[in-house]
């Protein structure tokens, strides 16, 4: 056994002394370096011609990732630009006040709470991006990355490697957005202020801006609150200054998740994904009518379902007796 190992070691020694292999090793190192520093690869590709294709291939996935990120960021930047222009494409007066929203976001630096027009399928993507997505920080970061991305995007111009599909695609979108921002095919995002949630003492949670959120969704606060209580399996009350006091400890993101579900179920139109809907009650049934496309659908009533007993049984008995 030991003899075998020794033999192997010797062969390895030999390999290391082999000049061609040495060269190979150094090549690898170079490649690694190029991977790390993204700005270099173009130059490097030019100076070492034979290594170019491999380099390009290795660089590609990175580029793709970069672009994907960039795309998302770009969208955001774009959105904000639209906000600043005050030119939200939606002509309906009922659309939410984006400017106001942004101000609030910047001030509080809180989570961006946005409901998607496409409930379920987009929710996954949303989860990947959200919820710790400080918007203010994202803005300048997005600008930086897009400026940096610009030279890597047209990276094939200087080098002799071929352009890739994704590069061309992002280029088309970039040009399209530059020339006519309103045509970019960006869906209007339906946004809502993040719920401001804080702890009240040890066992209660205060949800301060319920009234505001309900107003933005055009829903009765009672309905929203009923849903919240049913989903969270608790109870609570509204205090003097229109804040909701919920029994139990809840974090902002938990409340946010529940609100998101509420929006998917009771606010957005299933047909056209518009959030512009009204909820009406006709003999015990709730109907959701879309203002944008006129479709009507019935929505299930809120049911709290089974509630397990969590408190002390003695207290329960006293309550029942009283």
């Amino acid at each position: 056994m030991s003899a075998e190992i020794e033999e192997k070691l010797q062969s390895m020694d030999l390999q290391e002394e082999d000049p061609s292999l040495m060269f190979d090793l150094s090549m690898k190192k170079k490649k690694k370096k190029s991977k790390k520093t993204e700005e270099e690869p173009v130059e490097e590709a030019q100076e070492s011609q034979d290594a170019a294709p491999a380099d390009a291939a290795e660089e590609d996935p990175m580029a793709m990732f970069g672009e994907k990120k960039k795309k998302k960021k770009k969208v955001k930047v774009e959105d904000d630009a639209a906000v600043e222009g005050g030119e939200e494409a939606a002509a309906d007066g009922e659309s939410f006040d984006f400017g106001d929203m942004k101000k609030k976001k910047k001030k509080s630096k809180k989570v961006d709470f946005s409901a998607f027009e496409d409930g379920q399928d987009q929710e996954g993507e949303d989860g990947a991006r959200d919820p710790d997505d400080p918007f203010a920080a994202d803005d300048d970061e997005g600008a930086r990355s897009s400026s940096k991305g610009a030279d890597s995007e047209e990276g094939w111009i200087g080098s002799n490697r071929d352009y890739t599909y994704t590069e061309l695609l992002s280029r088309v979108f970039k040009i399209l957005r530059q020339n006519n921002p309103e045509l970019a095919g960006e869906k209007k995002r339906y946004t809502i202020v993040p719920p401001s949630v804080m702890r009240d003492g040890n066992k209660k949670t205060v949800f301060a801006n319920v009234a505001d959120i309900c107003k933005r969704m055009h829903r009765q606060p009672e309905h929203v609150i009923q849903f919240l209580f049913a989903e969270l399996g608790t109870s609570g009350s509204i205090d003097g200054s229109q804040r909701l006091v919920i029994k139990g400890r809840f974090q902002q993101k938990q409340i946010e998740a529940v609100l998101r579900r509420y929006i998917v179920e009771y606010v957005t139109c299933k047909t056209c994904k518009s959030p512009d809907t009204i909820l009406t009650k006709e003999n015990r049934l709730f109907f959701l009518q879309c203002e944008a496309c006129g479709s009507t659908r019935s929505v299930s009533a809120i049911k709290s379902g089974f509630q397990a007993q969590t408190g002390k049984r003695a207290a329960q008995r006293v309550k029942a007796a009283a």
Partner: protein, 111 residues
Amino acid sequence: MSDIQNLQSYDPFADLGDSKDTGDQQGYIHIRIQQRNGRKTLTTIQGLPSNFDKKRMLKIFKKDFACNGTLVEDEELGSVIQLQGDQRVKVLTLLTTEGGIDKKQVKIHGF
């Protein structure tokens, strides 16, 4: 013609009374969470199909999730499985993989 009249005699929007126990909310299985004292929680599974042996399911749940639990009989909602701790996702995966239940049939509630 008579067919149509027959149809008309049935008013689909007629008030069915309290719909709470009719069909148990369209046959959904509801998985809920409830907060207890401190950071403790309780998971309840409501609306399991009647051909499922809840006692055996409970046993499997308890063993698999390493938690305790009980079977609660509710006069309105039938038997409900209660488990200690937040077992919602685990229950869902077990129901879908072992129980042959479609994911759309299950509703997870709570935060």
